[in-house]
């Protein structure tokens, strides 16, 4: 392995950015591919698959054998609001492989009794996200209904290019939210990335069913990331 390649790979991994290490098993030459880099041909298709699935594999391409080692940051879900939906969402998301953090400054809601075994912050999103910034391998679901709590986090999630941004509320509620986010400086393209009303349309009625819809939408966003925005203006 090239020492510079190892150093670069570790930098990417520390920064929670995805990278695929491509090694030619014939001559030992290696290189780093970052998400969004163009790689041509069959090798390019295999690299795209590695980014999407996170699976590493040996592939034959261009008459050679390459090993693709996929290094994807662990995805996580940040939930704004220690509400009834979150109580169902936190354990389900953890089982699905998405560690959850819940942020809600209302200390009556954010109690360990209501949320056993969950990383819980009874603080304002502004304070928590300063310490633990959002990134493109983080999903954010804002479910408080309270603009004072949700709005800052939604704007931060759009700016950090979170792979999923969802916001609870009716179309009418969302229309008002859009006006506030525009006033905060969000662009129309950014706002179009918000999933609102939140969750896949499965006719969810109870808080637990809404949690299923949100988790399904998060997984869909993660597994299709980079596919829908190809060629779109960043």
């Amino acid at each position: 392995m090239d020492p510079y390649v190892l150093k670069t790979l570790n930098e990417e991994r520390r920064a929670r950015r995805a990278a695929v290490l491509v090694t030619d098993l014939g001559d030992g030459r290696d290189r780093i591919v970052r998400e969004g880099d163009h790689v041509a041909g069959d090798l390019g298709a295999a690299v795209a698959r590695a980014f999407r699935t996170g699976n590493s594999e040996s592939v034959a391409a261009e008459g050679r054998t390459f090993f693709l080692n996929a290094h994807l940051p662990r995805p996580r879900l940040v939930v704004i609001g220690a509400v009834h939906i979150s109580q169902a969402l936190a354990p389900m998301a953890r089982i699905a492989g998405y560690p959850v953090e819940i942020i809600d400054p209302r200390t009556a809601f954010a109690t360990p009794e209501r949320f056993p075994d969950v990383a819980l912050h009874a603080e304002w999103p502004e304070d928590v996200l300063k310490r633990e910034p959002l990134d493109s391998y983080t999903a954010l679901a804002a479910v408080t209904h309270d603009p004072k709590i949700d709005d800052f986090a939604l704007k931060a999630a759009l700016d950090a290019r979170c792979f999923y941004v969802g916001a609870l509320g009716s179309r009418k509620t969302h229309a008002k939210r859009v006006e506030r986010l525009l006033a905060l400086g969000a662009s129309a393209d950014q706002i179009a990335r918000i999933h609102a009303p939140i969750g896949l349309d499965i006719g969810a009625a109870s808080p637990a069913e809404i949690a299923v819809a949100v988790l399904a939408q998060t997984i869909h966003a993660f597994r299709s990331r980079g596919l829908e925005s190809k060629g779109a203006v960043a």
Binding site: M1, P3, L6, F67, N69, R76, R94
Partner: protein, 112 residues
């Protein structure tokens, strides 16, 4: 279940290999590149080895690490990468086999 979203730098083989390199040590990196059947560690897993035979990480459940370390020291000397194969069907399996019955292919290369 490990739920940390950040690297466990004290135990991460590739971080350790980089540290060894900075300390001026000669280092080999072993990587599981293919598995068949029930293999204990997934494709992409690493074992890193220095010239004194110190190692971190794993390519199996402990069954073949000793053999990989020995080969890695040769790879550090020669600079020439090797592809190793372990499994029950293999002649060497009687000495260093995988008790689970799977087969693995391990690529061993020198760092630098």
């Amino acid at each position: 279940m490990d739920e940390s979203i950040y690297l466990d730098e004290a135990r991460d083989p590739l971080i350790i290999a980089e540290g060894w390199m900075k300390d001026g040590k000669d280092v080999a990196i072993a990587t599981v590149v293919e598995t068949w059947g029930s293999a204990p560690r997934p494709v992409g897993s690493h074992l890193v080895i220095d010239a004194e035979g110190n190692f971190h990480g794993s390519v199996s459940g402990g069954c073949v690490e000793g053999a990989v370390v020995a080969e890695a020291i040769d790879v550090i000397d020669s600079g020439k990468a090797r592809m190793l194969e372990f499994g029950v069907a293999d002649e060497t399996a009687w000495q260093v086999g995988l008790s689970c019955g799977g087969r693995i292919k391990v690529y061993v290369e020198r760092l630098g």
